[in-house]
Symmetry: C2
Subunit: 228 residues, 2 copies
Amino acid sequence: MKQYAIPHYLVKLLELGAYNKFIKISTSFLKDHFEMSQQSCSRIINELYSKEYIKKEIIHGGLNVMVTSKGIDYIIETKEYFNLALTKPGYFEMEGRLFTGLGEGSYYMSKRPYKKAFYRKLKIDPFPGTLNLRLEDEKYEKINFRLSKLKGTYIPGFQDQSRTYGPVKCFKAIIEDEYEGAQMFAIRSHYEKNVIEIISSFHLRKELNINDGDLVKVKVYLNNAFID
Amino acid sequence: MKQYAIPHYLVKLLELGAYNKFIKISTSFLKDHFEMSQQSCSRIINELYSKEYIKKEIIHGGLNVMVTSKGIDYIIETKEYFNLALTKPGYFEMEGRLFTGLGEGSYYMSKRPYKKAFYRKLKIDPFPGTLNLRLEDEKYEKINFRLSKLKGTYIPGFQDQSRTYGPVKCFKAIIEDEYEGAQMFAIRSHYEKNVIEIISSFHLRKELNINDGDLVKVKVYLNNAFID
DNA sequence: ATTACTAGGGAGCGAGTAT
DNA sequence: TATACTCGCTCCCTAGTAA
């Protein structure tokens, strides 16, 4: 069954009362509720079961089913995903765990051409150091992937005596609902799909009193230009 | 595209900012966001457009799209459908417009065997007259259809000198969040899929001060037995 | 560079049926 | 009665490509 259909079937089971308790059903009974054949209802129930969205007991003349808390969470997540887009369009939210990177970020951010461009285009006077967050939820990795495909604010690269510094692109962001900053992507360079890099005018580790391993919430705002 | 997928695609467009304003996109740009091929994105955009969930303008080198208020409503409806099942499992909600039936309801309700059975099984001393509601939304017709397939509380039929009265089944209901009653289905008899019939101990037209043409909200509660 | 048509392949659906 | 398997058939998805 299609991913998008899962919460709908779970909701129909909830409507029938399968919330925190088993209900007695049969797959042919379900066909009017799922608007599917008995065979497909059987398949759907087994898929929901194998994905652990429902508990199932085969009894004489039917089954007992109950939506699991994983199933409930999945409905809630879907609902909140809709809600977020309705209340904050043009905006993505991610959460990741703080970790210490290679220190490259602070090296880059101390370079004058970057500093000047960040200030001019984003009004950010970058603190010498970036916040590295590791995304632990697949849904945030997907968001990060989608962001990587958007245009963002372009910060050009440059050279000094010793080496070349590549261009980056940024999206304005709010960290922990409080501090302004930006998510930064290196363009034409390795990008780890489960890592995001945040810059800010502030020393966020100090200001937010956060340490490696802490979960940090980031809201990323889009510009209005999508096609590169 | 599958019905269940529609709100997901609309939400992705909202995330990109297509809320109350046009965004410039291309179908190949969308493929990372929809997780579909360019060709399917094209098809999806056109399906959303033909169903009036989005507005579309073809421009040089792409399209401008914007989610319509019908699209927004559809997302909200889906979200609230999930929410209702989460907060009130084992419960359906419908809304219909009051109309005057053939008066059969009041005739039936005045029959002693029915009155006694309603009181014994549902603690309802039926007011001689039923509330007929015409469902105007397809989603409520679907709910009514699904209810018609559930077991409900059985009220047996009977005979008097002149004729036979068929059995009915009932589901406890709350009318306008205030008055208790029940939705009644005739068993083995014609059933209009867009009409529901409500009984109550109260004269609801008077108590609620409602007249033909008024919208009336009904919450129907399920018993715990599903298979007939 | 676009959109979107056509054609082929694959996934999903339901009828029939074994258990 | 059930569940759930196999097997066609259909529909949907994508690759190729026209416009």
